[in-house]
Symmetry: C2
Amino acid sequence: MKATILNVGTELLVGSTLNTHSYYISQKLHEIGVGVLYHAVVGDNPVRLEDMIGYYYDTSDLIIATGGLGPTEDDLTKEIFAKWFGVPLYFSEEIREDIEARFRGFGRPMTPNNLRQCYVPEGAEILWNENGTATGFILEKDGKIAILLPGPPRELRPMFEKQVIPWLRQRVSQVLTSRYFKIFGLGESATEDRLSDLFAAQINPTLATYAKTGEVLLRVTASGASDSENQKLLEPMVEEIRSRIGDHIYAERDAELSEVLFELLRDKGLKIALAESCTGGMMADMLVSHSGVSEVFGVSVVAYDNAVKASVLGVPAETLETFGAVSEETARAMSEGISKISGAELCISVTGIAGPDGGTEKKPVGLVYMDLYNSLSREHRTFKQVFTGNRERVRQASAMKAFYEAIQWLKADLTIASKEI
Amino acid sequence: MKATILNVGTELLVGSTLNTHSYYISQKLHEIGVGVLYHAVVGDNPVRLEDMIGYYYDTSDLIIATGGLGPTEDDLTKEIFAKWFGVPLYFSEEIREDIEARFRGFGRPMTPNNLRQCYVPEGAEILWNENGTATGFILEKDGKIAILLPGPPRELRPMFEKQVIPWLRQRVSQVLTSRYFKIFGLGESATEDRLSDLFAAQINPTLATYAKTGEVLLRVTASGASDSENQKLLEPMVEEIRSRIGDHIYAERDAELSEVLFELLRDKGLKIALAESCTGGMMADMLVSHSGVSEVFGVSVVAYDNAVKASVLGVPAETLETFGAVSEETARAMSEGISKISGAELCISVTGIAGPDGGTEKKPVGLVYMDLYNSLSREHRTFKQVFTGNRERVRQASAMKAFYEAIQWLKADLTIASKEI
């Protein structure tokens, strides 16, 4: 099955919104064995949209369209696809009731323009929207398929994963089985380099790397008649990958560092606490993004100001004066300080110069100290690194490095792991 | 002039690389008044690429193509465009010398495949590459223009800004001038609803809304012979927008809430401090993303655990027991607690149930208390809201609401503003 991803929305053409849909949908389609031939973006213009559907209708089996399903007058995707598929629209009472119930939930009356969203192309399968009022649709005719999805990512993604992927899987005869590896501390090209002969020889399973923020996702996919057959094809490749880059793999699934760290702590019955300077709450935010994290996390002190490092975290004034806020000594005092406040077994502090200002010759922009403190053994592991990139990149890289090293320590170390609970 | 941006590269179609070129180029073209009608992506496939050039050659005046100019065999963009424009390729000694000099600079011999990069479509203008070996080209024939650019962003962007933009500026007679409004507390469709007659009647200036996370960006654009002429066209529209939705506009530019709040605090010589429960460091992270924020921000206590709310922030145990952690009383005690720690004039606390677990009938998932405390006047402004959506959305909405209300208070209130510095 050959697909085109067609994004409808003038906001993409004027550069107001970055197109993450085509990226996301391409990845997901690739995983289930649907090839993508084209991406296309067109504005909220009915003539051009119709013309474009014609071009891609001829050259693809499947068009996945995003956007233009909302209540406003420039939302025309549904109408024009219905025209192309030669079907009329009917008014769905079921959708109206659903939209009205949503508005009641918000405590607001439904505005009349929302009624536009109640029309359904005849014969289309309705894709219900968990997070918004615009339903999606699947249209099918003469071997051609069009799948229409709402534009907002938080509406599109659950709809795509829970409804579209299962629907498409049934149409693809081949079974694909994938394994994932999350890699930290080895870039995308370095990863491919270490596996270059595997990449060169790949037929089945296939390999692909995806550069994520500060890390790499490696996917290995086998294609066959059944999942168990695929697993047999995957096993030797997985072993080979582990033996070559195992020291950089922190998860054998598509998980985040903060998630893996949370789970490790929970499984070991340990708590973590944070003292953040340049990361400025980002590490806490990463942890708190996971539901249930209160089992392992209770406090982060964002001590952006040196006075707070002293008054709240108890960093000695002499330490700050002698070594400066960005130093190994301050990092260690910060993690010991948060240990006293929290009683957590694993305490992490980060202090650095995120830039773009504040660098000196001795302490350049990007210099960061990350300290991990085991409150039980009173052992420190301190990491010093000069990160490149802009302010956001330096802050993110610091948070990720600290989490990665915490994972490594928790995986290896018996002192932390041996706490009696 | 109407443009298509055509990205060539299979890595985009398999979801391995996020397409930032179309976003970047669209923004830049929009700024100089070149309208973008289409984005398109095609793989390294000569037949499909040629077919696609045909479609967009017919529908646009200008095609900006990226990628496929390198030395490998699947780099075919130049060859196929030359075919379309009906011109042969010639070997450029000048380019060969340039590439050889680069390789000498790297201390490596030039590999023979680099010679492919020395061929130039006859009549094309050469765009020299500061950061790589692949030159770009401008082809022009019968009123149609094709601009070919190398794929790597750090090669493309300087080439585009230093060579392509000045070249295009000379071809565009029209000047575009835009004004932006950031809107909070009014959704995209509600915004359009309040301005529906302006949207319906728009010719020049034009209006467009963009839904951002939890907020809306409104753009108004005038087109004319000069910027000053455009400003005259914009002024009455801007006044009308202010009078209709001014209470929801927090910035008349494309700025974030945290940025506007930071600037207001800085201008007033005030400090902010945070006590975060369900937002979990997100508010601090938003502030710290801005360079120079240490002028106004020194500390956030992420008190995710109730014990920390008591021990660090000094929330009385009775308050927590009687009213619970998610209550107006706890929110007030938290902001007073961080006020004592920080001495900041404006203190914000947020406590709520982000979900998906932890809700009860009386305190459902999404219930959040946000307290703003003016340490100078000892006045509180407490906001209670039940946000809908998933965990991330509830946390984000809480942070944004708190920042928005802080901005409103700072803009209106003289008590905070009158601090002597």
